[in-house]
């Protein structure tokens, strides 16, 4: 039976540890609370206002309009809804093309670089990974230069006899561009699709300008995902491959029956990480034309910014931000759920650390 004094000592120690714990976590709580939770709460309030940025939105004079900002995005025929629909369409195509392309390319590069007999593995890995760590603004500048109408890319295309488009100035959707080759013209926008945007515009595909953004995203992110695949590849137990080899499988069977199944959880991870990050595209849009040409590179993130800072309609901007937040949280939940279901969150044991370390070598 513990004496009074030991209980007291334990209690005091627990108290002291509790205080230390909060002291250690204090800066984190403070910064994340003040600059993350509080802003979200404030913006949620502003999204219910009509606020032009000139008065104090937290006083009694605020022009409370309820869900009007959200209604204008979804239910009221007008410029706001059209712009929102166009930005959603653009981003949808951006996501649909970027995510599969970057995943396949990353996997391909990882498998190549993982060849054990390959000379210069380290150099190649560096080369493929380097674009990922540079600033999006600097890279966008370079791409703007390369993809000018008479720029480097079109010169190179010219060498093989292809007349390249005027990338950043071309608002035509690639779907109608391709169909145009077969004599099918884009129908006049009449029949109304969802959100007041005609079906022919919904199905226009990404514009030529958007394609350059997609190319850039694939080029910059595939290196990161390659590393994730590489770590996973090196985590595959060697015995597994050796056993398969003893069974006399050929290369393709080894890849399809042993290697790829072992990568499945990581594949889900890469796909969902890609899905989440592509919906947030902003920096590139800001630098490369702010939605031009013809609003075909407009994205919800940029629209939210420009509704606020360009058009002084901060309520509308905040509302768009919350719609986007909802969408991304949905995707994140999906990711966490899928990875848990598959039991496939890459286990952070000694094994994965070893893989990472080997990938780093």
């Amino acid at each position: 039976m513990p004496s009074e004094s030991t209980v007291g000592a334990k209690r005091r120690r627990g108290l002291r540890e509790g205080a230390w714990g909060w002291l250690f976590a204090g800066p984190m709580v403070l910064v994340l609370g003040l600059f993350l939770v509080l802003p979200i709460a404030m913006a949620l309030w502003v999204s219910l206002l009509h606020w032009d940025g000139q008065s104090n939105p937290f006083s009694g004079h605020a022009d409370f309009v309820g869900l009007d900002n959200y209604r204008r995005l979804f239910a009221e025929d007008g410029l706001d809804r059209t712009l929102f629909a166009v930005s959603m369409r653009n981003t949808l195509y951006y996501v649909l093309l970027t995510v599969p392309l970057q995943t396949v390319l990353a996997l391909f590069l990882a498998v190549l670089v993982n060849q054990r007999m390959l000379r210069g593995r380290g150099v190649l890995r560096t080369v493929f990974y380097f674009p990922s760590i540079t600033s999006s603004i600097a890279i966008s500048t370079v791409f703007l230069f390369l993809f000018q109408g008479s720029g480097a890319v079109n010169r190179m295309l010219g060498w093989v006899g292809v007349k390249g488009p005027n990338w950043f100035a071309d608002p035509r959707g690639v779907v109608w561009l391709v169909l145009g080759r077969f004599g099918v013209d884009q129908p006049a926008p009449t029949a109304g699709g969802p959100l007041g945007l005609s079906w022919s515009e919904w199905f226009a595909g990404p514009s030529v300008a958007m394609c350059t953004l997609i190319l850039m995203a694939v080029w910059t992110t595939s290196g990161t995902f390659m590393l994730i695949f590489l770590a996973a590849l090196q985590d595959i137990p060697r015995e597994l491959e050796e056993a398969a080899a003893l069974d006399g499988v050929n290369r393709r069977q080894l890849l399809c029956n042993v290697t790829l199944p072992a990568l499945r959880p990581v594949l889900f991870l890469v796909l969902t990480l890609g899905l989440i990050s592509t919906w947030q595209v902003f920096d590139q849009v800001y630098v490369m034309g702010k939605g031009a040409p013809g609003n075909t590179t407009l994205t919800p993130a940029y629209l939210s910014y420009s509704a606020g800072f360009d058009n002084a309609d901060y309520g509308q901007g905040a509302a768009i931000a919350f719609v986007l937040l909802g969408l991304i949280l949905l995707l994140t939940t999906l990711q966490r759920w899928v990875l848990r279901e598959r039991g496939g969150r890459p286990r952070r044991g000694p094994r994965s650390l070893k893989g990472a370390r080997r990938a780093a070598r």
Binding site: V31, V127, I137, V142, A321
Partner: protein, 298 residues
């Protein structure tokens, strides 16, 4: 590439070497891809040494007559033109902000990580759930919210508004927590028996052991704050607070009429990439670790 001192078999492929044609094909593909990844940087370098008309006329050629340094002179010195871009100001702001943010992140992230990993205190699980939730909030939806809060605090367009909100990042806390959980408890217990308090244990025992993780965190914080764009975009307004990213962003996306000036833009982009590039080549494995820690965010 076989070396006698290597562990036998570790580097051997499971199935013998590829047949020669396949090997050639593989190398060609790899070289092609490598070129594709390098070419933009090479073209950027080459064209930054050209004059404006020359870069427009011959973007693929090497700079004629060994190139011109005009662009770099305009960045770093008082050039003949009056419309100098305040590049040194951008550089100075970027360095200041990056240094402070990196220092803050290394300290506060490891403190918070240690608290979450090792200190038993009420509310710990709740805090960890909070960190996980925070990691799911994407930065771009915070543009207007952050502006609102900085504005309310009177921190809009100040250095404190640029720096304070970046001092802690959830991903860094996560990395440090993972690491501290792998430190054997016995070491801390031994120090505690010797009479060391919680802070002493953290500062003198645990932190010195965490060098690799701290370097990773430093490198990632440096890269993150050096390349940060959106936060500075909404937290500042006047050009005296422009960093390399916002300055270049304004410059590149800016008004018509002043011509394209690509060599100057490319040179500015190149110089702003250099510090991270140098860091990358020195600490590559830490970048790799950062990329892979992304995989354990789930």
């Amino acid at each position: 590439m076989r070396h006698a001192d290597r562990e036998p078999g570790a580097d051997e492929p499971v199935l013998g070497r590829f047949p020669r044609p396949l090997r050639v094909l593989g190398y060609t593909a790899l070289l092609g891809f490598a070129l594709l990844y390098l070419l933009p940087f090479l073209l950027q370098l080459a064209n930054s040494f050209k004059t404006d008309p020359d870069a427009t006329a011959n973007p693929m050629a090497l700079p004629p007559d060994g190139g011109t340094l005009t662009s770099y002179r305009r960045l770093f010195g008082p050039a003949e033109g009056v419309e100098n871009i305040p590049f040194l100001r951008w550089l100075g702001n970027s360095m200041l902000v990056t240094a402070l943010v990196t220092a803050g992140r290394v300290l506060f992230d490891s403190m918070a990580g240690y608290a979450l990993a090792r200190i038993r205190f009420p509310g710990r699980r709740l805090l960890f759930a909070f960190v996980l939730a925070v990691m799911a909030v994407p930065g771009v939806v915070l543009l207007i919210p952050k502006f609102l809060v900085l504005k309310s605090f009177g921190m809009f367009d100040t250095y404190s508004g640029m720096i304070l909100p970046l001092l802690v990042d959830a991903a860094g806390i996560f990395i440090m927590k993972q690491f501290f959980e792998s430190v054997p408890r016995e070491i801390e217990e031994a120090a505690r028996i010797d009479g060391a308090g919680t802070f002493r244990i953290f500062w003198s025992v645990v932190l010195p052991m965490s060098r690799p993780s701290l370097i990773t965190l430093t490198v990632l914080s440096f890269q993150g704050s050096w390349n940060e764009f959106t936060h500075f975009l909404v937290s500042t307004q006047s050009s005296e607070h422009d960093t390399l990213t916002t300055g270049l962003g304004h410059f590149v996306s800016g008004g018509l009429g002043s011509g394209t000036q690509y060599p100057l833009k490319l040179a500015a982009a190149l110089v702003s990439t250099l510090p991270v590039a140098v860091l990358f080549f020195c600490f590559q494995r830490h970048f790799v670790r950062g990329a892979n820690s992304g995989s354990s965010k789930g």
